[in-house]
């Protein structure tokens, strides 16, 4: 399990990085490496060049402003975990703590996890649930995209091969509450099913998101649940309900049927957790 041959390029700027990605088809960006390097070691990835984003200062830092929290793409999971999240945002650190282990969280990054887009990973589901937007840069310039549009499929995103994620913006909202729940075989494993529930006030209206992960090729919102969270109406969250929106796969850890069943349970727990937070 040793990586295949590849060249190494460590640019100092986003412009240099994306220029290289544009010029060389087989070049791939390296963030924290906690997904890419196992794939290299197993020779499941065979890039011509690894473009190490570690030298780009612009990708660092967590900046809190009145309307958003900006996470630099190279912010680590460990930094997210330790960040002083505002009241209501507990689902984020709770979810982040489920990512791998301490040593993985020390290296793994926000941008890397979102770009990798493992359907059972925590951050894609969290970002979808919190309505985050993802900033991308390429030789053609910058663009921003909401998480809803970013995740397309199984390890597939709207990121072009010559684009890198530069940052993620999580909107700051009034009266926000959130809940997270995950089932994995062991702590740190990819989820069999996970769920995030978020509710907030916006322009006098109540808004909500209910997201499940691990149940499809990408994290999915469950509109009936969101509706019920907004209106406060009773809704039985069931496997059948989820099955309208997600199509899980069978694998060595669980069957599709089981995933649906526990997916519904995780979503019930995420909602329960959101509803039952102590006010501080």
């Amino acid at each position: 399990m040793k990586p295949p041959l590849f060249a190494y390029y460590r640019p100092n700027s986003v412009a240099e990085a994306v220029a290289r990605l544009a010029r060389e088809e087989g070049a791939v960006p390296l963030a924290g490496g906690q997904s890419l390097i196992p794939m290299l070691n197993m020779r499941l990835a065979r890039p011509t060049t690894v473009v190490d984003l570690g030298g780009i200062a612009d990708l660092q830092g967590i900046d809190v402003s009145p309307d958003s929290i900006r996470l630099g793409a190279r912010v680590t999971h460990a930094a997210l975990e330790k960040h002083g999240w505002p009241h209501g945002y507990e689902a984020i650190p709770e979810g982040v703590r489920q990512i791998g282990y301490g040593a993985i969280r020390n290296r793994g990054t926000v941008g890397g996890s979102l770009a990798h887009a493992d359907p059972a990973a925590e951050l894609p589901a969290l970002m979808l649930a919190f309505g985050a937007s993802i900033q991308l840069a390429s030789p053609r310039g910058e663009r921003s995209m909401v998480a809803d549009d970013f995740f397309l499929g199984y390890y597939e995103t709207a990121r072009a091969s010559d684009e890198i994620i530069t940052s993620v913006r999580i909107p700051v909202r009034d009266d926000l509450r959130s809940g997270f729940s995950e089932l994995s075989r062991r702590r740190g494993d990819f989820a069999i099913a996970l769920a995030v529930a978020v509710r907030w006030k916006e322009a006098g209206r109540t808004e909500a998101r209910a997201v499940v992960g691990g149940l499809d090729v990408r994290p999915r919102r469950i509109p009936e649940v969101e509706e019920a969270l907004v209106t406060g109406s009773e809704l039985a969250i069931t496997a059948d309900l989820l099955a309208r929106h997600v199509h899980p796969a069978n694998d060595v850890h669980a069957s599709a049927e089981y995933r649906l069943e526990v997916g519904a349970e995780m979503l019930r727990r995420a909602v329960w957790s959101m509803e039952n937070r102590e006010d501080s």
């Binding site: 399990m1 040793k2 990586p3 295949p4 041959l5 197993m42 020779r43 089932l183 075989r185 062991r186 702590r187 740190g188 494993d189 990819f190 069999i192 060595v252 850890h253 669980a254 069957s255 089981y258 069943e261 526990v262 349970e265």
Partner: protein, 784 residues
């Protein structure tokens, strides 16, 4: 001056002397060893479970990289043929010739200057396969018209086995009731943290093979046999080994291949197994299916057991065990610690297109314990009696020993009933059971499970000759040498890879001479330095190597006593051996230090009594007569809470009462119990080698094959009983495997108990993955 007494080292909770090298990163694992000019091997492995090799094209491999294929070494193989009549044998090739029989079978080998380049080169070998229908289950293998894995065989059964006790029919008639089930244990394995590793070189005409093995002398035999050369032209060195658990107690084709490559290239060849290879090609274990029926009377007294034992042994018979080991062990131990006599059992060691099947801590006993203990739980339910009481009623009793169980194993002694009584009081069993029942009525899925077992250990000639193995593992060896500074070296045929034997053997043998730990060195793992013996497996090392070391120490003591008596001008009977040397009883001023005594023996022959030779070396073997083994017993209890909506099982408590005879070092004993239980928890909840219908192994990373972590294993509480063995020196018993035997039965019983308020279920399959548990919960609701 104080009076000297003979010290007692046995029983002391002393920290291990071998630890500092591991704690400072100085472990001597094969992967850490470097020799000049070393090159690096990589194997090309079969992607098919069953296929003909049409062609092997190595033309793309760059010059400078050596390549070997099956044809190069077609005349060499590892063969292990049972002495059982009708055994169908097939040699395990070094590299597959003409045909592959499991995914991961080595087909070609490259040797390059660097492990990265070796992996690059291996990718350039193109092999054309013609796939054949794979045989991927026991049912398929034994079905009419199944493809033959070995063409010259008549079926895919290695050899059928059967035993019926003379009183079977009569005992079945005495029974009034039965419970039955099909008990399934998944395919899994020891999975040590260090994979296999080999470094072979030719030094002065001798092939030196450093390999991570538990059985250095047997590997030397296997390599010499495979190559058709003398044993004294092969030296096997097994330095520190990063965990064995049985996986490293087999001869592997890669060991032979590295020896052949080193000889052929005239260069040292190193191969470090990667984790994916480990899952594919290091021998698997544990996969049993038992169809069993327990026959008992109205009072819940067992009369007889009927069983069929199916084991999925994979594609080849492994050296030195043969492919009948698991079946044979299961057939012997299935009656468990119970005193019934009626028994009928059939065994089916089956050949499939899967990785060959070898030893794993406990060999068969976890599956056998699972079957008998589940049946006893079900009997208790059927009769409406407490599970603990159901066991107590049927156990072998103190005055039964030596007890020949229904399968023919001779239990030397133990404390089965006492262990139950101690547990009952220790954990407040009756209150605990009541409390759990109340919790269940309030809706929580909490439950308690238990398993009691005997662990055969240190069995030698009598036992292994019955098993038909070509080499009867009849003894272990120890050579003790005192040097002229009075320090002791123990060179032994067993191996230490975590069991603490560098400490416990020193405690056990040093006591005879009064020599403390810090002046004893234990040498193992080098066939040029230790006398012949089998190695470390089957919970034998402390008993057999310890016994041999004690015998040799006694020989040395006799000579030392004779010389000391001569020098101190007293009778030998008046001497005391202690940490400071040898003294005259009651006269501490008449003391000669061990260093002085040894120095005189080696360097002042003029001072020695008539007829004493100037040597201080003794070699002894020990076989723990009568050779049927000594039996540790243990009683495990565990509690769980089950999540009704996800099926996740959380172990909330685990208690072990164990009796392994006289303990040399309780700290080490507890470490062995903890580790065994953790592995048993892996069997119970997590570990499973999953194959698809094409014979592809789907679990080849630690993402898919799940080992228990610190959050999955609870605190494990232990209590000890010490019933000395009548069969062994010092009354000690082997205990390395026991921890792993019971947990699957305990946890299955606990989960079944936890679901009992919902409705009745009969849990008979492990691992209890959340999905399986949820299925049982659904069944419980349907059965309500």
């Amino acid at each position: 001056m104080t009076t000297f007494h003979e010290p007692r080292f046995v029983g002391a909770r002393v920290a291990r002397v071998e630890d500092p090298r591991f704690l400072t990163g100085q472990g001597r694992y094969v992967s850490n060893q470097v020799v000049a000019g070393m090159r690096h091997a990589r194997f090309v492995r079969s992607p098919f479970a069953h296929a003909r090799i049409v062609s092997v094209d190595t033309s793309a491999v760059p010059s400078g990289v050596a390549v070997f294929t099956g044809e190069d070494w077609a005349s060499y193989a590892i063969e292990c043929t049972s002495r059982y009549e009708g055994f169908q044998s097939a040699a395990m090739p070094v590299l597959a010739v003409g045909k592959v029989r499991y995914v991961g079978e080595p087909v070609a080998m490259v040797v390059a200057d660097d492990p990265y380049e070796a992996e690059d080169a291996a990718e350039l070998i193109l092999i054309d396969y013609d796939p054949l229908e794979p045989v991927t289950s026991i049912e398929q293998a034994l079905s009419e018209g199944a493809p033959l894995i070995h063409e010259h065989w008549t079926s895919n059964l290695y050899v059928p086995r059967a035993y019926t006790s003379p009183d079977y029919d009569e005992k079945v008639r005495e029974a009034t009731r039965t419970v039955s089930g099909r008990f399934v244990n998944s395919r899994h394995s020891g999975v040590p943290m260090e994979g296999r590793a080999v470094l072979a070189e030719v030094v002065d005409g001798e092939i030196v093979v450093r390999t991570a093995t538990q059985i250095p002398h047997l590997i030397r035999t296997a390599i010499a046999n495979a190559l058709g050369i003398s044993e004294n032209s092969v030296r096997v060195i097994s330095p520190d080994v990063g965990g064995g658990f049985g996986v490293k107690a087999q001869a592997y084709p890669e060991e032979v291949a590295c020896a052949l490559a080193a000889r052929s290239l005239g260069a040292p060849v190193k191969w470090i197994e990667d984790r994916r290879e480990h899952f594919l090609a290091s021998h698997h274990s544990r996969q049993h299916v038992h169809d069993a029926t327990l026959h008992f009377d109205d009072e819940g007294r067992i009369r007889a057991l009927t069983a069929a034992v199916y084991v999925d042994m994979g594609a080849y018979s492994v050296f030195p065990w043969t492919s009948t080991m698991d079946t044979g062990m299961a057939m012997g131990i299935l009656p468990g610690p119970y005193r019934f006599t009626g028994y009928k059992v059939n065994g089916f060691p089956t050949c499939t297109n899967k990785t060959p099947y070898g030893a794993y801590r406990g060999v068969s006993r976890p599956a056998a314990c699972f079957t008998i203990e589940r049946l006893v739980d079900w009997m208790a339910r059927d009769r409406g009696i407490d599970r603990l009481e159901a066991r107590r009623r049927n156990l072998v009793r103190k005055d039964d020993y030596p007890w020949t169980n229904a399968g023919g194993l001779v239990y030397d002694g133990g404390s089965l009933e006492e262990s139950i009584d101690v547990m009952r009081e220790w954990i407040g069993y009756d209150d605990l059971v009541q409390r759990l029942a109340e919790e269940r009525r309030r809706g929580r899925l909490v439950g308690l499970g238990m398993a009691i077992f005997t662990e055969q250990s240190a069995h030698t000639t009598e036992e292994f000759k019955k098993r038909g193995v070509p080499i009867v593992f009849g003894y272990e060896t120890a050579t003790l040498r005192l040097d002229s500074t009075g320090n002791l070296t123990i060179a032994t045929s067993i191996h230490n890879h975590g069991q603490g034997l560098e400490t416990t053997l020193a405690q056990f043998a040093g006591e005879v001479l009064g020599i403390p730990l810090e002046r004893i060195k234990v040498v193992f793992g080098d066939t040029n330095q230790v006398a012949y013996g089998a190695g470390t497996f089957a919970s034998r090392s402390a008993v057999l190597a310890g016994g041999a070391a004690r015998l040799a120490a006694t020989d040395l003591r006799e000579k030392l006593a004779r010389v000391a008596a001569h020098l101190l001008e007293v009778s030998e009977a008046d001497l005391v051996f202690h940490e400071e040397g040898v003294s005259v009883v009651g006269s501490p001023e008449s003391t000669i230090s061990m260093a002085e005594l040894c120095r005189i023996i080696y360097q002042r022959p003029d001072l020695l009594p008539e007829g004493v030779t100037p040597t201080l070396e003794a070699t002894r073997t020990y076989d723990a007569p009568p050779g049927t083994g000594t039996y540790t017993n243990a009683f495990h209890v565990g509690t769980v809470e089950v999540d009704e909506h996800t099926g996740v099982v959380n172990i909330t408590g685990y208690w072990v009462v164990e009796d392994c005879g006289v303990m040399i070092n309780p700290l080490v004993v507890e470490g062995q119990i903890h580790g065994g239980v953790a592995q048993g928890i892996g069997s119970a909840l997590f570990e499973e080698m999953v194959y698809d219908e094409d014979g592809q192994l789907l679990t080849t990373t630690f993402m898919d094959y799940l080992l228990p972590t610190a959050l999955d294993v609870p605190h494990i509480a232990t209590r000890h009983l010490e019933t000395p063995s009548p069969n062994t020196i010092g009354g000690i018993k082997g205990m390395g495997e026991g921890g792993a035997i019971a947990p699957a039965a305990v946890i299955a019983g606990a989960v079944e108990d936890a679901l009992s308020e919902i409705g009745p279920v009969w849990i008979s399959e492990v691992p209890l993955t959340p999905e399986r548990v949820l299925r049982y919960i659904r069944q419980a609701k349907e059965n309500r």
